[in-house]
Each structure stands twice: as structure tokens, then as C-alpha cells.
Amino acid sequence: MEVTFGRIEQPSARYRLAMIVFAAMALAGLSATLVAAKEGLALTGMTNRVPWGLQIVMAVYYIGLSAGSLVISGLYGVFGKSDYKPFARIAVYVAMVFLIAGLLSILTDQGRMDRVFVEPFVYFNLRSMFSINPSLYLERRRTTKVVATLAFGWAFCVHSGTGAIFGFGSRVLYESPLLPASFVAAAMASGCAFMILLIVGLFRATRRPLDADLVVWLGRFLAVCILVVVYFLFMENAYRVYVVELRSAAMFYLFGGFHSVLFWFGLVLVGLLVPMFLLFWRRTGRDLRWILVASALVVFGVLCERYVIVLPGLLHPQEILPGMEIVKSPVEEGVVAYGGSIVEVLQALGVFGVVALLFLFGLRTFKLLPSEARSTRAAP
């Protein structure tokens, strides 16, 4: 049967409240950004040795979520799974909104935001992954099958591109040919998990019928994504531990500080193993509540993954003078520490506020919400 799409006609009190909360977050972020733009990035936790921090982590995370959400829309557009047609529109919209979030995170992180709207367009550097990336981001559209396929492939390019920003650097922990691939895998996992949460939440909140089978199938899909992520993570770290030159860096990565805690507990345990168990075990894998729990854990776990991609590579020292140990220096040498400051946290919250506002606004403005989502066949 035909699905019809609608928008939210009568905003409820909850909707209004959410708008206000997100607007407040956006305002807080905006003021933090203005202060940082005036006073300089010394207000953030970044230093000369750790020039990228929380905002880049968030940017990478959002861009991953964006690509992942696009995959959900691709279920219908590319793979012809008509059961998932109801979610296609909303997935595309979410992908777009997250893309904006990613670009916004990068933008608010620049030292000279005023120049960002001029210089990159006038003096485009084709050799820099950083500038190739946003132009990849800008080109995504939807609807017909061809375009959907293109968009799908495009998402892959974009995401491999984001991986390559880090992958082609000169730092030991960034230098991994697997990074773009594992990046895409984690992106799909996080996007899928986020869409599960969003879809179930929206259908519940607006009282639309939703067949649990659909979500169960998405849960399966998520489980497979997690498997792939685990595989890449294992390969990457096993390789690093095995190669002699990389061993000390690998040890630093795995057991070297706060990021290792995030790695083992945030990513491996909470973000991957527990959800995988929940999704694969028959009793919980078919229970909507447990699928939701697993999805939430994955969304959190991938955030940790983004952190351990960006930061340990910077905290670990580069060997400037091979074979020598630097004992005294006017700048920070050796292993350094990074702690995000309140300004960065506010900026990150602000970006989230902005995209949540955009999303809610979209629900009222565009016809995104399907009337219902029903499974046409028996449970998988």
C-alpha cells in the first residue's frame, strides 16, 4: 500500500519545549564561539602540540552519522527494500542536517572564521584532503534510483576522504591504510544506530504505527556493521603491536591514558561488544527495548571511537631527532595531555542545538513523516 508523508501540523507542548531547550543550547554555543573568535583559541584546551581537539572530534562524528543515515535511505533507494521506503525521506533529511553539523563544527574551530567564506573559494588547494572533502560534502541529492546510487557511492567517497584527512598525515598513529575503511564501517554503525533511535522515538512520539520487524531487521544490519568495525579495529591494532617501529605507539594508544579508557571501556566494551551481544542473542535481539539500548550504546561508542582516532595521534610525540632523547626544550615535547575546555564543550553543545533545531523545524516544514511503516513479509 502507498505510504503518505506528512508534517507536524500542531506543535505540541513537548515540541515547543524541545525547541526552547535546543535554542538555548545554540545560543550558548554561539556566545562561546563569539568569545573564542574575539579572544583567540587560547580559551580552548588546544595547544601547539595538540592543535586539534573536541570540535574536530565532533565534526568527524557528525560526518560519520551523516553518511550512516544516508545508508538507511539507500536501503530503499539503492537496494530496493520497499519496506524501508517510509524512512527514506527522514534519513536523507537527517543526513543533510548532520552534514551541516559537521561543517559547522569545523567552521567554529577555525582561527579566522571571517576568512573561511572567502579564501577557500578563491584559492582552492586541490592537493589538500581538507579542501577536497567539503566539496565532496556539498554534492549530495536524492530521489531517483540513479541519483540515490550516486549519493550512496558519494557517501563512501566522502567518508573515505574524511578518513584520509587523518590517514595520510605524518604521525605514527594516523598512518594506517585501514583508517578510511574502518572510518566508513564505524560511520555506518553509528548512522544506523542513530536512525533506529530516531525512528522509534519519532513514531512513538507522534503515535504512528511501526512494525517491530523492521526495527529488528535494522538491528541485524547494525550488528553486521559492528562486526566489521570490530574486525578493522582488531586488524589495525594487531598490526601496530606486531610491527616493531609502531609498538611503542600502539602501547601508548592501548594503555597510555584517558584515551585508552575511552578505547577499552567506551568503544570496545560499551560501544561494540555489549551491543553485539544484545543484538545477536535471540532473546534480546528481537526485543525492541534491547535494540534501542544497543543502538544508544553504539551511538556513544562511536563517539569514543572518533575521539581515539583524533587525539592519541597528537598526544603521542613525533620523533624529531631519531635516536636521541630530548631532555630540555622550551616547548612541550614527549607525551602531552589534552583537556577540553568549557568553551569547546559549549561550542559542541551549540552545534548540536543548531542541528536539533533544524531537524525539528524540518519536521514541521517538510513532509518527512510517513503515515505508517509496515513490514510486507514475515519476520526475517
Binding site: R7, E9, Q10, K367
Partner: protein, 127 residues
């Protein structure tokens, strides 16, 4: 924009809000534009030292008006030549200072009256 199939929306309050917001943006703009349209622009008097600008160079100026409207392009070109191609001449922002020693009298007056805030003086010394 409006969709014929869409059920009518609860519009009154919203339309009012939009109207108020639009007025808040448009009215001040319109007022400024109109105010300028009916006034004679006052070009501030800039300090004029003796002699001609850029005497002894191919750029020697017969009238100051050219410099008044094109100095920024000219400076930007000098900057590109110096910074990016290493072609540094005697003509720099420091050179301007020799004949026009006061930024307040030379640069700021005009920039202020046209609400321009060029980015030069945070990094280049011009008292």
C-alpha cells in the same frame, strides 16, 4: 511554496510573527537607504601633505581621487607581489607613513565614515 494538498495551517499568530520579524529587518535597512539617498555624501577631508603621491615612480598620482578609491586594490597587489613572489619594492605601508604620519587623520577618517574596518593595523604598525 505552499502545497495545495496540505491541510490549512493554523496561521494567524505565525503570520503576525513573521511580519513583525520581517519589519524588524526591513525597516531599519530601508530607513538607512532612504536617509542616504536624500543626503549629500560628505567625503571627509583627508590630510594632504606637500608634493605628489608616489613621486618618482610609474604610479605618480595626478589626482588623489584615484588613490582614494583604489588604494586597497593597489596595496593588495603590492602585498601579493611581496609576500607571494618576493618582489619587494620600497613601497610598503611603512612608506605611506613617511608622508602621512597619522593614521587617525589619514586612514581612519574615511574608513570610519564609510563604516569599513580593514584588517591591516592589527599586524602592521601605523600609529
Amino acid at each position: 511554496m505552499s502545497d495545495p494538498d496540505a491541510p490549512p495551517r493554523p496561521a494567524r499568530g505565525r503570520r503576525l510573527l513573521v511580519a513583525v520579524l520581517a519589519a524588524a529587518v526591513v525597516l531599519p535597512l530601508a530607513a538607512t537607504v532612504l536617509a542616504h539617498a536624500f543626503s549629500t555624501p560628505e567625503i571627509p577631508f583627508l590630510e594632504r601633505p606637500e608634493g605628489r603621491c608616489l613621486e618618482g615612480t610609474p604610479f605618480v598620482l595626478e589626482n588623489a581621487a584615484w588613490m582614494r578609491f583604489h588604494h586597497w586594490e593597489f596595496l593588495r597587489w603590492l602585498r601579493e607581489e611581496a609576500v607571494r613572489y618576493g618582489r619587494r619594492g620600497v613601497l610598503t605601508l611603512n612608506k605611506c607613513r613617511e608622508c602621512h604620519p597619522s593614521r587617525a587623520a589619514f586612514c581612519d577618517r574615511c574608513h570610519d565614515s564609510t563604516s569599513l574596518t580593514p584588517d591591516c593595523f592589527g599586524c602592521h604598525y601605523y600609529p
